[in-house]
């Protein structure tokens, strides 16, 4: 292989990793909510989009609209942005659950699904009215120009940062769900809500926590999306949400590790499609993958066979 190709491929590899990290973060929310109340939260993609807007709004309103050269300030601002955005988004998620989904928790399946679509449109249009229909520039705290070299390829610190953020959040989530008392309560609630109640688990707050975490993760994805692409629009949630959902299904819905894996997989498919010159067709590739997975392995790559659910 000639060096040129190697360079391009290395850089594309890191692009895919970054994109995958964003999808993975969104996919986690889908998978968590689905795992606990078996609802495809259609509004989740829009929550991600709202996250991107809130991060932008927060940064500009505290007076940062360009790159921050000083690493300490940068770290502080980033940490603050993550904290604020994720908290706000978490509460938005909890609010949506409280008012739009909880009343329908025992209704036929179609009802909350339709509500979710309704919520998704509300969020989209509220943002459209708030910020207008055209793309909005986001503060580029960490520009793509800050890079380091690996051989012939140069990698942006931003790519590394996004990847690390995603991995840290995912590991933290995995530990939380797998090891803690609250995580156990979440898993029990997912399996048998009534039995969990009889153990003393407050179902409503457990489900609310699930929404909080899922939405906060989508918020994190929104922040890094803004940082990475530099421009956001009210429509980004819809397509990103679909791709992330595909990622969740691909990995096996309800399975956290699967969602992460699926996210990265989708990231790689997209970058590969762009690399061979079919960027405009990426949604088609992604949904092709979705349909193939559903036909041949509906339980996803890491999901347990559906029959095993008891």
């Amino acid at each position: 292989m000639d060096p040129q190709t190697v360079t391009v491929l290395t850089q594309q590899f890191f692009n895919a990793l970054t994109l995958g990290a964003i999808y993975a973060l969104i996919a986690l929310g889908y998978t968590m909510v689905y795992g606990i109340i078996e609802l495809i939260n259609f509004a989740h993609g829009e929550i991600f989009m709202v996250g991107a807007f809130i991060a932008m709004f927060f940064l500009t309103s505290i007076g940062f609209s360009g790159s921050i050269p000083d690493p300490l300030t940068l770290a502080a601002v980033l940490a603050l942005t993550f904290l604020v955005t994720m908290t706000v988004l978490g509460f938005i998620g909890v609010g949506i659950e409280r008012f739009a989904y909880r009343p329908l928790r025992n209704a036929p399946r179609l009802a909350p699904l339709i509500t979710a679509i309704g919520v998704s449109f509300i969020l989209q249009n509220v943002v459209q009215i708030w910020r207008g229909p055209s793309p909005v520039n986001t503060p580029q705290l960490l520009t793509h120009n800050v890079r380091f070299d690996i051989g012939a390829a140069s990698i942006g610190y931003l790519n590394i940062f996004i990847f690390l953020v995603a991995v840290v959040l995912m590991v933290a989530l995995q530990l939380f769900v797998g090891r803690t008392r609250l995580g156990r309560a979440m898993r029990s609630t997912a399996q048998d809500r009534e039995a969990a109640q009889l153990m003393g688990v407050n179902i409503n707050s457990t489900i609310a926590i699930t929404f909080f975490i899922g939405s906060a993760l989508a918020g994190a994805a929104g922040i890094v999306y803004g940082l990475y692409f530099g421009s956001i629009q009210f429509t980004i949630g819809f397509v990103a949400g679909l791709k992330a959902f595909t990622a969740a299904v691909l990995g096996g819905i309800g399975n956290l590790a699967g969602a992460a894996l699926g996210g990265f997989f989708i990231g790689f498919i997209e970058v590969a499609a762009a690399q061979i010159g079919y960027a405009r067709w990426t949604p088609a590739f992604v949904f092709g993958v979705l349909i193939l997975v559903l036909v041949f392995r509906p339980s996803g790559l890491l999901g347990q066979p559906i029959g095993e659910r008891a």
């Binding site: 008392r181 156990r184 029990s188 109640q197 009889l198 153990m199 407050n202 008891a310």
Partner: protein
């Protein structure tokens, strides 16, 4: 919640006997009416359970036995009437608060968490308790059910029917209930296991837990219970001591399978 210390003390086997049955009402239902939507399942249930007793509910399918238990444990709320637990009206309490208050419920069909390990299932049973208490209770339950100790790392779903029932009862005990509601503990078990489960129930009772038992196998249930209530279409039609119920002609004909 000031109930916790009280629960702890009454756990001691002696506590109930000291005061003597009849004086210490753990549970009282007054004219409880429960609905599923428009359909009335309970049409005014009155019953009481005293500390240290085993009380059993008998009745055909649809008589409202399971609904009565669900109403007590707060899974459904009564539309009319009161559920008094240790003298306090708890009819509006959500289920998870009643667990803290001291009501344990091993529901029909066992309902163990099949994708959690046996240990995690038991830990879930002690969800409302402190880590130290949980460890202590874990030891107690494992002693009661040695089979569970052998299978601590296994997923709940891989246990046999009898082991699952043990896990379900053990899990309910992990919350240190003052009152344990058991719904059809022998359902679907091999006849050979049924006796074993009843022995365990008796043992739990002897250790100081008050038990309200719903059982298809009315004969067995009456053999270990102090008193029983016969339910029919959501009403109590007969209430008496277990011996007298077991001797009652109508009961024998309708529920004990003597045709």
């Amino acid at each position: 919640m000031t109930v916790e210390p009280a629960v702890a003390t009454t756990q001691r086997a002696a506590a109930a006997d000291d005061r003597g049955p009849g004086t210490d009402l753990v549970l009282e239902l007054r004219g409880v009416q429960t609905f599923y939507g428009q359909i009335q399942a309970l049409r005014g249930i009155d019953l009481e359970v005293r500390a240290g007793e085993i009380v059993t509910l008998i009745g055909g399918n649809g008589a409202g036995k399971t609904t009565t238990l669900k109403t007590i444990s707060g899974l459904i709320h009564p539309r009319k009437g009161q559920v008094l637990f240790q003298g306090r009206d708890v009819s509006r309490f959500p289920a998870h608060q009643l667990v803290r208050a001291g009501i344990g419920h091993a529901p029909e069909g066992r309902r163990i968490f099949s994708r959690l390990t046996v240990l995690e299932n038991l830990q879930m049973g002690g969800y409302t308790r402190s880590p130290a208490e949980r460890r202590e209770d874990l030891e107690r339950v494992m002693t009661l059910f040695p089979r569970l100790r052998e299978r601590v790392r296994q997923n709940g779903g891989t246990l046999s029917g009898g082991e699952q029932q043990m896990l379900a009862i053990g899990r309910a005990l992990m919350g240190r209930p003052r009152l344990l509601l058991l719904d059809e503990p022998s359902l679907g078990l091999a006849p050979i296991l049924v006796q074993q489960i009843f022995n365990i129930i008796r043992e739990i009772n002897a250790q100081g837990t008050t038990i309200l038992l719903v059982e298809q196998n009315a004969l067995q249930a009456l053999s270990i219970a102090a008193r029983g209530y016969v339910l029919q279409t959501g009403r109590v039609i007969l209430a008496d001591t277990a011996e007298r119920l077991a001797a009652n002609e109508d009961v024998r004909r309708a529920y004990l399978g003597e045709i």
